[in-house]
């Protein structure tokens, strides 16, 4: 199941990249299609943030993960690089759990 998912993602992501370089631009330049494709990553990434931080199976739970996200938010405001943002989130959550 996992391997099927990995190969499906690999093939699909490659074809999406190739399509961009191959399809005549007018096909995908329809303003509505273009806007939706542009907004998809924003909506999905925001949804992934919410699920990662607040969902625990089928329940919502406020715990150390939210503090980790808050710390990541501050790090981003301070223009920290990606790896630092991720580390700050992890260390904050791990630290709180030690208390």
């Amino acid at each position: 199941m996992m391997w099927t998912a990995i190969l499906l993602a690999a093939l699909g992501c490659y074809l999406l990249k190739l399509a961009g370089l191959s399809i005549p631009s007018r096909v995908l330049e329809h303003p509505l299609v273009h806007r939706i494709a542009d907004l998809l990553p924003v909506a999905l990434l925001a949804a992934l943030v919410a699920v990662q931080v607040l969902a625990d199976g089928p329940t919502l739970q406020v715990d150390a993960r939210l503090a980790g996200l808050g710390a990541a938010f501050v790090a981003l405001l301070l223009r920290a690089p990606f790896i630092v943002v991720v580390l700050v989130a992890a260390v904050t959550a791990a630290g709180l759990r030690l208390l």
Partner: protein, 249 residues
């Protein structure tokens, strides 16, 4: 791949572009470590983790797949979420195709390297020669270092044991926020993000794991239909990249 038909690029400019590309590759590779560790923490093995970086090779989609699995979703719903995130590479390709001007097998090979970083380092160039050098140098540097870093991160993650002890579950949320961050400069994107988060949290208690995230795509659909503004943050700029802003002209 490196044989460029137009020899107009001065050697000095060429090596400056290559240097910038390698700098971006090193900075991006560093976050491949976190992908490797997070993927193993989500329950994938080292081989599966490395296969994702080698074959999928687009960071947000890889994080999405392992993120959905970590949250208890099925691998297939993770893959579909990853595919939906991969659609932005299609937009990058449309923007870059006339500039890069590759055909046949070269285009087929270049497609695998079409990611945020290679796009940002190519899209602002004024000539095809400069765009190709920026695209290839960045794409290849990121590919090599991203994959090495993934392997290192996966091996380290396996050695660490329980991911919660080290806050790796919180790291995933931080990673997604960092990926989203450059797009949040735009007001409509902020609204989209808030609506998507609200919808997904409403659905978590009632829908099977993996489904709420996919449902957030509906928000993109609705906002896209309702609003008509263009998005200035659509294609990443060099400023948005780690290590990319240092040699700006």
């Amino acid at each position: 791949m490196t044989a460029s038909p137009d020899p107009v690029l001065p050697p000095g400019e060429r090596s400056a572009i290559v240097r910038d590309g390698v700098a971006v590759g090193i900075a991006t590779g560093a976050y491949g470590i976190s992908f490797g560790a997070i993927s193993v923490a989500a329950g994938l093995d080292v081989w599966q983790t490395c296969a994702l970086s080698l074959l999928v090779f687009t960071g947000a989609s890889q994080f999405a797949l392992v993120g959905v699995v970590a949250a208890g979703g099925s691998p297939l719903s993770g893959a579909v979420t990853g595919l939906l995130l991969g659609t932005r590479n299609t937009l990058y390709g449309i923007r870059l195709a006339p500039l890069l001007g590759w055909r046949g097998w070269r285009r087929g090979a270049a497609a695998h390297l079409l990611i945020d970083e290679s796009t940002a380092m190519a899209v602002t160039r004024e000539t095809t020669a400069a765009a190709r050098v920026g695209f290839l140098a960045t794409g290849l540097a990121v590919f090599v270092l991203w994959n090495l870093a993934t392997l290192g991160g996966a091996l380290a993650g396996e050695a660490l044991g329980d991911p919660r002890t080290y806050g790796l579950d919180a790291a995933v949320g931080g990673a997604f926020l960092a990926l989203l961050w450059p797009r949040l400069k735009d007001r409509r994107n902020q609204l989209t993000a808030v609506l998507a988060a609200a919808l997904v949290l409403t659905l978590v208690p009632v829908a099977p794991a993996g489904v709420p995230v996919l449902a957030a795509a509906v928000v993109a659909l609705v906002v896209g239909v309702v609003s008509h503004a263009t998005d200035p943050t659509e294609v990443p700029g060099r400023d948005d990249l780690p290590g990319g802003g240092e040699h700006q002209r």
